[in-house]
């Protein structure tokens, strides 16, 4: 958005805001499509000895998801008779909004960022948990018992996993000395491992525990298997989404995969160095940044979806005890260790 930033001098504040908004709004369905196609349609199919869709669009069925989206738009918008109509209608928008807000702080280049907040990490994790409100709204307004059970599960789960997610990131923040995502990327780009600067200092080497914690907690935040109790196909028949159809259901889908995209980008930024290639600065970095981030993000997303398609689902009580008895203590120990090393090594 650096080009836009220069343009902004001419076109004014309001128009810049509009352009930024539109761009971020475009990223969400784009991310959802890319992840949905690559992993949901193709990788999962190959793991399950299937081809996945092969015909639409000519090359390996790349058009399938777009077609699905178009189909959803034509579908009738069904609303249960007993539903709380306004809340029911708003819930998908709330979920997509939380995704939208995360993308605002994720940098894709030295200047390609909508807003480089000083509290970037904190902000990203805070807004990501807004989605739980949308989930609760959907579950409550559907006036369906399965949806209600799913929504309550989701609420319990998302709140329990917000903490390990935060604790996992604190190590990175201590090491980088800043909460700004841009600052964290630069710290990794300009860092060194025992004096070797060739690959910078991606925090995954020092914060591998944090990385693992982050992935596990992110998986729970995204309600993906093994933590997909809120949507549990075989028990709750998609949980809080059960009454949704057509365009509103499409919103849930976009929200789910858009958020996965955002979390993968966040993990890539925090632990893999984000858009940065060590030693590459200035205009080249600006140009390469988005692509580098995309490659790293896809690597993280691969891990997340690999687990998603392999593992069975935990039970709700097992999930809670995993969060409170295992992940949070490990996270705290990790923070203490990082703090001590930071002071000792410098």
């Amino acid at each position: 958005m650096s080009v836009l930033a220069t343009l902004a001098l001419d076109i004014g504040w309001g128009s810049t805001l509009a352009i930024k908004t539109i761009l971020v709004l475009a990223i969400i369905p784009f991310g959802a499509l890319v992840l949905g196609y690559t992993f949901l349609l193709k990788m999962m199919s190959h793991m399950q000895s299937r081809l996945g869709p092969m015909d639409p669009g000519g090359f390996h069925g790349w058009f399938q998801l777009v077609g699905d989206g178009l189909k959803f738009m034509q579908k009738e918008d069904i609303m249960p008779a007993e539903a709380d109509r306004r809340v029911f209608a708003m819930a998908p928008a709330v979920i997509v909004m939380s995704t939208f807000l995360i993308f605002l702080v994720i940098p894709a280049g030295p200047r390609t960022v909508v807003e480089d907040l000083d509290v970037g990490v904190f902000y990203a994790l805070a807004v990501s948990s807004l989605s739980v409100i949308g989930v609760l709204m959907a579950g409550w307004a559907s006036s369906n018992k399965f949806a209600l059970l799913g929504a309550l599960r989701a609420a319990g789960q998302l709140i329990a996993y917000e903490l390990p997610l935060l604790l996992a990131v604190v190590g990175v923040v201590i090491q980088a000395g800043t909460m700004s995502l841009q600052g964290i990327v630069t710290a990794q780009q300009d860092g060194s491992i025992f004096g070797i600067t060739a690959i910078g200092n991606p925090f995954i080497f020092t914060q591998f525990i944090g990385f693992a914690l982050f992935l596990v907690a992110a998986q729970a935040e995204l309600t993906q298997p093994p933590f997909d109790m809120p949507v549990a196909e075989s028990e709750l028949i998609s949980g809080y989404m059960v009454e949704y159809s057509g365009f509103r259901f499409l919103f849930f889908f976009i929200g789910e995969f858009g958020t996965a995209f955002a979390f993968a980008a966040l993990a890539a930024t925090l632990f893999l160095g984000g858009w940065a290639i060590p030693g590459v600065h200035g205009a080249t970095a600006e140009l390469l940044g988005p692509f580098v981030l995309f490659v790293k993000l896809m690597a993280v997303a691969f891990l997340m979806f690999w687990v998603r398609f392999t593992y069975p689902r935990l039970r709700e009580d097992q999930l809670q005890s995993l969060a409170w008895k295992v992940l949070i203590p490990i996270g705290l120990i990790n923070i203490v260790a990082t703090g001590i090393l930071k002071v000792a090594v410098g």
Binding site: M44, M47, Q48, S49, R50, K145, F146, L149, P225, P226, D228, M229, A232, E233, S234, E235, L236, I237, F309, T310, Y311, P312, R313, L314, R315, E316, D317, Q318
Partner: protein, 396 residues
């Protein structure tokens, strides 16, 4: 649980007369009456394999009472058999447990043969045993994958469907029907095995064994799967037997009972060397594990049969128009889902006078109200999956 005691009787709590403040406290201290929620699982629910309906009374996510409602798929086969001739009936009973149709035919044909005093030639018996074991593999293999789906793992389900297809191809190659072979005749089987079938069969059995190893890796060895299934839905052996639970469900509770070995000899099982697997735990995991071992054991049996396949005709001499002499007979066999039996009463006509069908799933499901009490909703699905019933087998 709800408390309906008046505040003054709550333990450690005394209400002073006239003290409004403590009265208000007392009201708060009474546990909130949360009420139960009745959740209607089914008849259209992915975990109920068709149209089983479970009326579950929940406190939070804990099941207080569960009540299976059956009959949504009742097709009246017992009555229909009274209006069919003996050869026509195999078409009907194919559709009782539609996943292992061939195994359904066997006990009925046996009953008719016993009444008529006909013995099928050895090769026919071998082919019947082969196809029965193949349909057992096809049925249980699907369970092995589907159990993954019940606990939330998507991938094993597709593997189950993938490898079962090899077995279904074999059944189709031999009988012409993928699901409903209708291949048994009174006095033998319709045809001999096609050319090259035995080679194909050996190759497919190898695939099945490999697939069993995959399931062992992906599910049995998985911590989450174990956490979800171990200790969930334990059937005590005596209680299971009292409810009429049979097959792998009972063997998983440690009851060493298999009609292929312990029952009245039928087909060519007494020529085969096989082990009856049992497990001591009786939980969902045990049921999965026992079925996994049984699939391997079935593969062993198929390979033994292929090695020692008898030669000769596949059909005994039977009259053109089959009339069964008056009499009655009870034949039961070990089917993939458990014990299946037919009580056939003949009055000497071309069709039976009365047929009573004992299907395994009906009895297996009858233990559900006892079994589901006190479990969580996700465990309900695990237990339903691990009991492995087919709706056609419940409702007939």
């Amino acid at each position: 649980m709800t408390t309906t005691q008046p505040p003054s009787q709550l333990p450690g709590f005394e209400v002073e007369a006239g003290s409004l403040g403590s009265l208000a406290d007392a009201r708060l201290a009474v546990e909130l009456d949360t009420g139960d929620m009745i959740l209607n699982m089914g008849p259209q629910h992915p975990a109920t394999h068709g149209t089983l309906r479970l009326v579950v009374r929940l406190d939070g996510e804990r099941v207080i009472a569960a009540d299976p409602v059956i009959g949504y798929m009742h097709r009246g086969y017992e009555k229909l058999t009274e209006f069919r001739t003996y050869p026509q009936i195999t078409t009907l009973i194919n559709r009782i447990d539609w996943l292992s149709s061939f195994a359904n035919e066997v006990p009925f044909i046996h009953a008719a043969e016993q009444l008529m005093g006909i013995e099928a030639p050895p090769r026919a018996q071998h082919i019947r045993t082969l196809l029965t074991e193949l349909s057992r593999i096809a049925t249980i293999y699907l369970f092995l994958g589907e159990m993954g789906l019940q606990v939330g793992a998507l991938t094993p389900a597709f593997w189950g469907f993938r490898d079962r297809e090899h077995v279904l191809n074999l059944i189709e190659g031999a009988t012409g029907g993928r699901f409903h072979p209708n291949f048994n005749r009174i006095g033998g089987v319709k045809d001999d095995l096609p050319w090259g079938w035995i080679v194909e069969c050996r190759a497919a059995m190898k695939r099945i064994l490999d697939g069993c190893d995959d399931f062992e890796d992906v599910l049995v060895g998985n911590e989450i799967f174990q956490a979800r299934t171990r200790g969930v839905g334990i059937i005590p052996a005596e209680l299971g037997a009292a409810y009429g639970v049979s097959g792998a469900n009972l063997r998983a509770s440690g009851v060493d009972w298999d009609l292929r070995r312990d029952g009245k000899p039928y087909l060519s099982y007494n020529e085969l060397d096989f082990k009856v697997w049992t497990h001591q735990d009786g939980d969902s995991f045990a049921r999965y594990w026992v079925r996994l071992q049984e699939t391997r054991e079935s593969v062993r049996m198929v390979l033994q049969l292929l090695d020692g396949l008898a030669s000769g005709p596949v059909m005994a001499k039977v009259p053109r128009i089959i009339k069964v002499p008056a009499g009655e007979v009870w034949v039961e066999t070990e089917n993939p889902l458990g014990q299946m039996g037919y009580y056939v009463v003949s009055k000497g006509a071309i069709g039976p006078f009365r047929v009573k069908i004992r299907s395994a799933s009906f009895s297996n499901v009858s233990i559900l109200p006892w079994l589901l009490r006190g479990l969580y909703v996700p465990d309900v699905v695990t237990v339903l999956g691990s009991l492995y019933f087919i709706l056609g087998d419940i409702d007939r």
